[in-house]
């Protein structure tokens, strides 16, 4: 039976960070094979640390981790023959063209010249990079360079792909090209581990996802199921003129720009909406998004200030 990734009590404390919280504080996670698994969380939550350990780039402090049924520490060499990774903030070598980068990456992994050239052509076309295929990477925009990195790794035959914030800096059209390519990879029954700050992306792509906070998994499951687990599954926004004390009788208010966001049960949300409309206020009403779920669970927005966790980039 095919295996994905299994973490048990996985911890990581960076050597230069003897005091303070660990980057990973006992992560238990089961990532099924052939799926897109999303990892979301604030900066410093431990996403990149987890991905780097899985991709055999970083040594865990304790715990167990298997990738494709292989021990990621003791059998790292075997694991490496079956994985590929786009690291966070990685950039392509600047003196090559996009085509050369993808082609040579595949040849470096052991593909023969003909197969590598053909595959490079296919992937560049899929990610709408054909027009710039023979331009030096140094002449491309930041978003294009990021797309070239993603193309490089998607072109490989790896069974598990780690994509650490693959669409950061991409325009909406380019993001959707990358999404399509990731979906195709998943259709090939390969596993994709994706970290992202874009919750719409996590929701659109992930079969399952996990929310990390403070080095722990605080939520895990299918996006639809996660929404079902929320105690207050509706959201209402009202202007600041609405009395705060009264808002608290409907649900849980949080201040947002120009008003309050209130999480509530469906009947309470409808009552609140009616009360606001009767006072002539502009409101919005709807079911919670993944972002709201994040806010309810963590209590802070996803795009808040970075936590000062040493050596931890995500």
């Amino acid at each position: 039976m095919a295996e994905g990734i299994r973490a048990r009590a996985l911890t990581k404390r960076y050597p230069k960070s003897k005091t303070g919280p660990p980057a990973l504080a006992g992560v238990d996670l089961e990532i099924p094979p052939g799926r897109v698994f999303g990892l979301i969380g604030r900066n410093g939550a431990g996403k990149t640390t987890f991905v780097r350990i899985c991709a055999t780039q970083l040594t865990p402090t304790s715990g167990e981790l298997t990738v494709l049924g292989l021990d990621a520490v003791r059998e790292a060499s075997e694991v490496r023959t079956r994985i590929a990774c786009v690291p966070q903030e990685s950039r392509p070598l600047y003196f090559v063209t996009s085509r050369q980068l993808v082609d040579l990456y595949l040849r470096m992994r052991g593909a023969d010249r003909t197969a590598a050239a053909l595959r490079a052509k296919e992937v560049l076309k899929e990610l709408e990079l054909t027009e710039v295929a023979d331009k030096l990477v140094s002449h491309l925009s930041g978003g294009m360079r990021r797309r070239v990195m993603v193309a490089m790794v998607l072109a490989s035959d790896a069974e598990v792909l780690f994509l650490d914030e693959p669409t950061t800096g991409l325009d909406p059209v380019a993001r959707r090209d990358v999404w399509s390519a990731i979906r195709r990879v998943a259709r090939d029954n390969r596993t994709v581990v994706l970290t992202t700050h874009y919750l719409d992306e996590a929701e659109a792509l992930s079969h399952e996802l996990a929310l990390l906070e403070g080095g722990r998994v605080v939520l895990e499951g299918r996006p639809a199921d996660l929404r079902g687990r929320v105690r207050q599954p509706w959201r209402v926004t009202v202007p600041t003129e609405f009395p705060l004390e009264e808002l608290r009788s409907y649900g849980t208010p949080s201040p947002v720009e120009g008003g309050y966001l209130v999480f509530a049960t469906e009947p309470a949300a409808r009552e609140l909406a009616m009360a606001a409309l009767q006072r002539g206020m502009r409101i919005s009403l709807g079911p919670v998004s993944l972002e709201d779920l994040f806010l309810q669970t963590v209590g802070k927005p996803l795009t808040g200030p970075e936590e000062p966790l040493e050596s931890e980039a995500s």
Binding site: A55, I83, Q100, L136
Partner: protein
Amino acid sequence: MTERRRLRSLVTLAYLNGVLPIKTQPLYLLNLIASPLSFLFFIDIASHGVLLLYGISGGMVLTVLTIGSSLQTDMSHYRQDLKWQDVVVASPVEATTYVAGMALSELLYSLPGMGVFVALWIFAGGGTLLGAVSVAIVLLCVWAFASALGFTLATYFEDVRETWVFAPFISLGLTVLPPVYYPITSLPASVRPFAYLSPTTYAADLLHNAIGIQPLGFDALLLNWGVLLGFTAALLLLAGLKARWRDP
């Protein structure tokens, strides 16, 4: 990974880092030879041609040693700024293949420089076939230990700027103190023991012998070869054991 695939990876890495940058910017080739040629010029002028052969042998050593520092800078940059090492780690390419490919790519840069010094050597009188073979083996040892040292250090630096901080000290230990451009007897006796701590000293002695400017006796020859090969093996072993492929 099969041997065939390993070889393909190695050649690809050498082409990627050795040939493509030169195609993009041919001036890279002159960069590596500029310092050794400058030293040769000064030495030849200052000694009225007497130390020309020392300048040539020193130039050969310095050209190949520069591979180590170039490798260190390239690998630090690729690891820290581009995260390229992380891309390679999460692939079938092994650490030894990566380093060998990168070291080979840096050797490609040094070939034109070496060509200039070999041409000068021939112009200055040349040497024997045995001498030429000795020169080639000595320089291969220098290439191997400089590359091993460069890679090991690159995996420890947390910022590419750190390589610039350490470069003068490494240069002092490998190129300034060892008698690369002069006979060891020119060094003050109090400093000489320090020079013998550097593998370059033995390489330089062997080169001076090979091109006929400072003949060594059989025992000294044996000792120099033994120590140079020992240093080379030790630094390769150090790279194998201590270089950080996976971060701690």
